[in-house]
C-alpha cells in the first residue's frame, strides 16, 4: 500500500471540507440506530467489537502514545474483570459502582508492576510484560488468596443496572458500550493533544533529549501504563457484567497479542487506526467464521507481511507514520489519512 490512496483521500478531504462532517454525522446516526435494525446476534458482535476497541484504545495509550511495548495487557483487563467479579459476587456491590473501583485497583496494580521495570529498554520491557501477564494468569488459575475460583473462574456476576434499570439485553448493552467508546475516544484525543501527549511523543522520538528538555521520562512512561491499565480495568468491569462468567482462559497471552496487533497493525497512535485494527482482528474473523481454525495462522502471516510492506500499520498517527516509513517511501506526503498527532 503506497501513499497514493492516502494522498487522494487527502485531496478529497481538502476540496470538500463539509465531507468530513457529513460522514461523521452519518456514521453517528447509523451507530445510534444500529440495534434497532440489527439482529440480536449482530448486536452482540457489535458489543464484542466495542469491547475490543476499548481495549485497543487503552493499549494505544501505552504503545501508541508512549511508545512502549506492552504484551501483557490482558493482565490489566483481567484484574479489572476479576475485581468486579469478586466484589460483586461476595459483597453484592452493584456492577456499575465497581467501574471506578476496578479502574483504581488496576491502576494501582499497573503502577506496582511497572514502576520497577520502566527503565528497561524496549524489547526487554516487552519480555517482562509478557512475564507479568503470565504471572497474573497463573495466579488467577491457582486461585490465589482463595478468591479467584481457579480454572473455573467466577460465575453469577450481576448485570449492571442504572437507577434501577437493569441492562441485560444486547441492545441495551450496546448503548452502554457505545457511551464508553465515545468517552474513551474523546479522552484519547484530548490526551494526545495535550502537554502530556506531547511529552509522550518527545519520549518516543528521543527519550534522552526529552529528559534533557525537562520531561520526567520515568513519570510519563509509568503514567501511560497506569492510564492504559485503568481503562483496561474498567473494560474488564463491562466485560464481566456482559458475560457474567469469567475464567483465566479469557485473559491469556494470545489475547494480549490480539490487542497488540490491533494497535500496531491498525496504526499506532491514531484512533481511526485502532478502529481499523479492531475491524481486522475482530470483525473479519467473526465474518469469516467458517475459517475460524485458520484465524491465528492468517494473523501470524499477516503480521509478518504487514511489517515487511507497511510497518507503520494501516492508519498510523503522523509521527508513527514518519518514524516507520520504509526507506524508499515518498517522504513529502504526510502519512495516510492525516491522523492527528
Amino acid at each position: 500500500m503506497r501513499t497514493e490512496i492516502g494522498s487522494r483521500a487527502q485531496r478529497l478531504w481538502q476540496t470538500h471540507p463539509g465531507l468530513g462532517t457529513a460522514i461523521n454525522a452519518a456514521a453517528g446516526v447509523l451507530l445510534l440506530l444500529f440495534p434497532l435494525f440489527a439482529s440480536r446476534y449482530w448486536t452482540s458482535v457489535a458489543n464484542y467489537f466495542g469491547l475490543y476497541l476499548l481495549l485497543g484504545l487503552s493499549l494505544n495509550i501505552i504503545v501508541g502514545y508512549a511508545g512502549l511495548f506492552q504484551l501483557g495487557h490482558a493482565a490489566f483487563f483481567a484484574v479489572g474483570a476479576y475485581t468486579t467479579a469478586i466484589l460483586n459476587t461476595t459483597l453484592d456491590i452493584p456492577v456499575l459502582w465497581l467501574l471506578p473501583v476496578s479502574g483504581l485497583v488496576t491502576a494501582v496494580v499497573a503502577y506496582a508492576f511497572t514502576r520497577p521495570i520502566i527503565h528497561l529498554r524496549g524489547d526487554y520491557l516487552c519480555i517482562v510484560t509478557i512475564g507479568v501477564g503470565e504471572i497474573v494468569r497463573i495466579a488467577l488459575l491457582q486461585n490465589v488468596f482463595g478468591l479467584t475460583g481457579g480454572p473455573n473462574g467466577i460465575f453469577g456476576i450481576d448485570r449492571p443496572s442504572l437507577f434501577g434499570f437493569r441492562i441485560y439485553q444486547q441492545s441495551q448493552y450496546y448503548y452502554l458500550i457505545l457511551l464508553f467508546v465515545v468517552l474513551t475516544i474523546v479522552g484519547s484525543y484530548r490526551l494526545q493533544r495535550s502537554r502530556i501527549g506531547r511529552a509522550w511523543t518527545c519520549i518516543r522520538e528521543d527519550d534522552i533529549a526529552a529528559e534533557a528538555m525537562g520531561i520526567n521520562v520515568t513519570y510519563y512512561k509509568t503514567l501511560s501504563f497506569v492510564l492504559g491499565g485503568a481503562v483496561a480495568g474498567m473494560v474488564g468491569t463491562l466485560y464481566a457484567g456482559w458475560i457474567t462468567v469469567i475464567s483465566p482462559s479469557s485473559f491469556d497471552f494470545w489475547e494480549s497479542v490480539v490487542m497488540f496487533c490491533i494497535v500496531i497493525l491498525g496504526g499506532a497512535g491514531s484512533v481511526p487506526g485502532i478502529v481499523l485494527g479492531t475491524v481486522g482482528m475482530v470483525l473479519l474473523p467473526e465474518i469469516f467464521r467458517q475459517l475460524a481454525d485458520y484465524r491465528m495462522l492468517v494473523f501470524g502471516a499477516a503480521m509478518v507481511i504487514m511489517m515487511i510492506f507497511r510497518p507503520q500499520g494501516l492508519l498510523p498517527s503522523r509521527t508513527w507514520g514518519r518514524a516507520l516509513q520504509r526507506p524508499g517511501d515518498d517522504r513529502e506526503v504526510p502519512a495516510v489519512a492525516a491522523s492527528e498527532d
Binding site: G187, R190, L191, S194, R195, I196, G197, R198, A199, T201, C202, E205, D206, I208, A209, A210, E211, A212, M213, G214, I215, N216, V217, T218, L223, L227, R318, T319, R322, A323, R331
Partner: protein
Amino acid sequence: MQLLKIEDVTKTFGGVVAVKDVSFGVDKGEIVGLIGANGAGKTTLFNLITGIYLPDKGAILLAGEGLVGLSPHEITARGVARTFQTIRLFGNLSVLENAMAGQHCRTNAGVLGSLLRLPSQRREEERILAVSQQYLELTSLWSKRDELANNLAYGDQRRLEIARALATKPKLLVLDEPAAGLNDVETAELMQLISTIRDMGITVLLIEHDMKVVMKISDRIVVLDNGAKIAEGTPEQVQADDRVIQAYLGGEDVIEI
C-alpha cells in the same frame, strides 16, 4: 554573583579518568568558553553538569544549590538547558513542536486538566505557543515552524536546538559545539545570537573547537587537557599561556583573531 560552581569534580569510566578534580565557576551574565583537545573531558563535564552522569566526587552548584544526584529533567527545571554535540532534535516533529517541548518543564497541566480541557489548561496552551513563537522568531525559524525538524538545513537544525533549549527558560545555557559544521555566515549569526542571549540575562557556557568563535565571544575561557583544568582566564591570558599553547593551540602557531 556566581551562578555555576564546579568543585573538584572527578569522573572515571572503568580505568579511564575522564574528568579529574576540575574546579571553576561561571558568573551570572558571563559567557564562558570551555576548550581542549578531543577527549579532554569537555562533553563529559557537560554530561555531569546536566545530570546524565554522576560524578565520583565533587560538587556542582547552581545558585548555591547542589545539582549532583538530581535527574536530568530536575536539573533542567532548576534552570540548566543544553544542546547536544550531535544534534538531538525530535526529528519527526515540526519546528514548532520542538520548541513547545522546551516549555514542558515550565507548565503543569495534568491528566485531569487535559482530559477536561479546563480553562487553566487552555490558557497554558496559549502561553506555550506564545513563548515558542518568541524564541523561534529570535532564531529566525518562525517562518519554518511547520517544517519537519529532520528536513531542516543543518544550520537551521543547530539553531532549533538552541531555540528549544531557550524555551525551557534557563538561567544557564550549556552549548556543546554550537558552531560545528557551520559556514562563516552561519557562524557569525550564531555569535550574534549568543550575544543576544546573554543580553537577555542568560548565562552561557559553551564548548567550541572553532577558536575564532571562542576567543571572540567568551568573557573567560577554561582549558581542559586530559581531564584536568590547565588554565583559566580571559581569552588574551589563555592565548598567552604556555601550557595551553603546548597542549592545544600548538607550538609556534598564533591564532589570528
